[in-house]
Symmetry: C2
Subunit: 418 residues, 2 copies
DNA sequence: ACTGCTTAGATCACGCCATGAATTAAGGCG
DNA sequence: CGCCTTAATTCATGGCGTGATCTAAGCAGT
């Protein structure tokens, strides 16, 4: 089991650039002093590296702070305008393209509903391309684009180019990355949407400051993003975290995946509605799942309460499984249905989890709701190119696909027909 | 989320020493040429680092191999006699202490049954101390001891000294590391026994060459060692991998942990026997669990077959959960009951897993039996100090507790009363 | 025995790195 | 205006990996 490779003296610099840049990005503004203290790097090295980062435009000075009569400390922060990021959310019914600055403030948004063509790949690629043009036009002139993150509702396999498999939208081994690469020279990052959302939640939401957490996402489907050691866990072939299809009941209810007793068949939005109707709850033919679930939550009838109680039990047991297997610092419940249910039955879910989990790991975790809401997939997607930027300490090293102008990221839309 | 720290130019060397040492340990013997090719290091660096490793006694030359008329390649391999390793298996009924050379060949063994005192901590510490004396005496003179690995049947929390919690043997926050440190100056490594066993299986058993796998261990209890990216996953507080207490049946059979429907309550050895007896299987009062289970496996009666069939279904569903959540390259079934059951119903377990797991991740994994057997906990424990040796490239850097004589590990038994 | 020839491995000069010590910058205060 | 305090930079030093160059060690043919 070899391969834990670091090699040349240059990687060292990259690593240190990365450490400093991350500190400033997530905990800034900070003085050079404070950076030295936090990272353990000598003041000399901090000075050198920071000078490089400022030279490169990644970091800017941001005021000073006094220091008991001595020379004031200069505060540093990551440059919001170093470059921009694109996040794409390929959803089940629409494609959303958003443009962000480096601090993930949204600059522009394009919402493109998928028509009758459904999830025809060419249509999706077309939508993404159109959305790109729209947001760039809408945002006007500005810094170049670092990269494009794309969140998709399926498993992303790297071969090494991203290939997407998705039962829900009927994609089988779609070479999305390659197809998108024909539209743009910008670096592309294709990732599972739930994973992207989980990363956003870890960086800016309920998971801030955690090294390990499980983001449990409940919508029509049920999934999870497992974060270990600060980064989402992908598994050998990218399909880790399929929590919705773990077995809550051996030989139980039939799930749409074909198996029996999957958790999704008990706590997914559709499953909750089905049980509600089976228990005599009024059926609202015209409503979509979301308003139908809202109606269940608002129904004061005992039958509705029983359905919710049962849902809490199954959800708690499912969460207990996550606690027992992953021993995370936090469990973060999200997804549109998760947030709706959570607002109502979180206490009972916690109680059920306490019942089904082992005492110690349960006591050492906390169960909370997502902060960012289910719309944040595009934000999560945009964190993907940002993550690489931070990892590399800002240097677009090697044979990157990123166009570079004056050492800064360029627009790279040469092949994007206007 | 900062902290991905590497710092000085010296760490670089350590990293490269580590890479080369690991290559030689796991894939040796190799020539310098081959090392250069595999690690990507320049021939010059390989020469330098190898010279250091030879100087330090970690690596030795081992013959030559011809090369089409040119100068022959000199083969290198890790030195079996650089130092010795101690592995301790604190089991439920006994303490086993074993002494190994660096290639994990056993040099001596001491088996110390736990008397009526049960798992009194002082008794266990005394046994370990006695075992140490025994194996050192039995093996006679030889290279120094690198460190002592201890596998315990419970959760190991690092605070940062290892503290052990174990329901099964009634340990609550036992500061085992600190207590053992009073007997010896040798570096100590306390770890969960299942985790240690899993690491052994990954290094020398069914997991050889894998980066990710789940070692599923079934005995009286049920647990798992999850290996991601080559190293066992511990979770935030060391209790990850509690597979036995994930829920197979919400509201199902009562488990000894207090919850309902735990997997362990269906596939643990005791659970299988209970179902067998409930189905009318003959009860053998005098026999231990192991022979009782053997009798079930040998019983040709339909009732016994049904029990096994049901066990296969639950086990398959449980394994499917592991596949869906972790997406590992391999599932490795071990533990004494796991191996017994596996020999008989592996096919049916595979079939059940196929039914309950998602198609893609199931197709990309394989389900196999452990190679090393359940006795290998001591081997696994011995891999713990070895792992650190390999990680550090052999240098006992910093304020190590390891006594060093002439740059080599010493015996460090000064405080071990003879 | 000797001469090329071929390949493995060692040595050397170079450029890059982080660091502690020394030096310079920048403010407050009497 | 000079002194003190603290922040930041600069400098000399020792490590490191690397490509180029050099030495070592075998073989084939004469």
């Amino acid at each position: 089991m070899p391969e834990g490779t670091k090699r040349t003296v240059r990687d060292l610099r990259r690593g240190n650039r990365s450490v400093l840049l991350r500190s400033l990005y997530f905990d800034g503004p900070l003085s050079r002093q404070e950076l030295s203290r936090r990272t353990g790097l000598s003041a000399a090295s901090v000075s050198n590296v920071v000078a490089e980062l400022i030279e490169g435009g990644l970091v800017v000075e941001a005021g000073t702070v006094e220091s008991d009569g001595g020379r004031p400390r200069v505060l540093l922060r990551s440059a919001r305008d170093y470059g921009r990021l694109v996040g794409v959310d390929v959803g089940e019914t629409r494609v959303i393209v958003e443009l962000f600055d480096l601090h993930l403030s949204r600059l522009a948004k394009a919402d493109l509903p998928l028509g009758d063509g459904g999830h025809d790949v060419q249509a999706v690629v077309g939508h993404i391309r159109a959305g790109l043009r729209t947001v760039i036009a809408e945002a006007g002139d500005g810094p170049g684009i670092i990269g494009i993150g794309v969140g998709v509702p399926g498993v992303v396999e790297r071969t090494p180019e991203a290939v997407v498999h998705s039962q829900t939208i009927g994609w089988d081994a779609v070479p999305l990355e390659q197809m998108l690469a024909e539209c743009t020279d910008l670096p592309l990052f294709v990732e599972n949407g739930a994973t992207a959302l989980g990363q956003a939640e870890m960086w800016f939401g309920a998971g801030r400051g955690c090294r390990s957490a499980v983001v449990a996402l409940i919508g029509s489907g049920v999934g999870a993003c497992v974060v270990t050691d600060g980064t989402p866990y992908r598994g050998a072939t990218g399909s880790a975290g399929e929590w919705g299809h773990t077995t809550a009941q051996v030989g139980g209810a039939r799930c749409r995946c074909g198996a029996r007793g999957c958790l999704e068949a008990y706590v997914g939005a559709g499953a909750v509605l089905r049980r509600y109707h089976a228990a005599g709850g009024a059926r609202a033919e015209d409503a979509d799942e979301e308003s139908a679930l809202a109606r269940v939550l608002a129904d004061p009838a005992p039958a509705a309460r029983d359905v919710l109680e049962e849902t809490a039990t199954y959800l708690g047991a499912g969460i207990a499984d996550l606690i027992n297997l992953f021993n995370p610092e936090k469990i973060i419940i999200g997804g549109w249905a998760g947030l709706m249910l959570g607002g109502r039955i979180l206490g009972r879910v916690r109680a059920a989890a306490a019942e089904y989990a082992l005492r110690r790991p349960f006591a050492q975790t906390s169960i909370e709701l997502c902060h960012l809401g289910p719309e944040a997939v595009a934000v999560g997607a945009a964190t993907l190119p940002l993550a690489r930027l931070l990892d590399r300490g800002g240097v677009p090293t090697g044979p990157s696909r990123a166009p570079v102008v004056d050492g800064r990221p360029g627009l790279g839309l040469s092949r994007l027909p206007g």
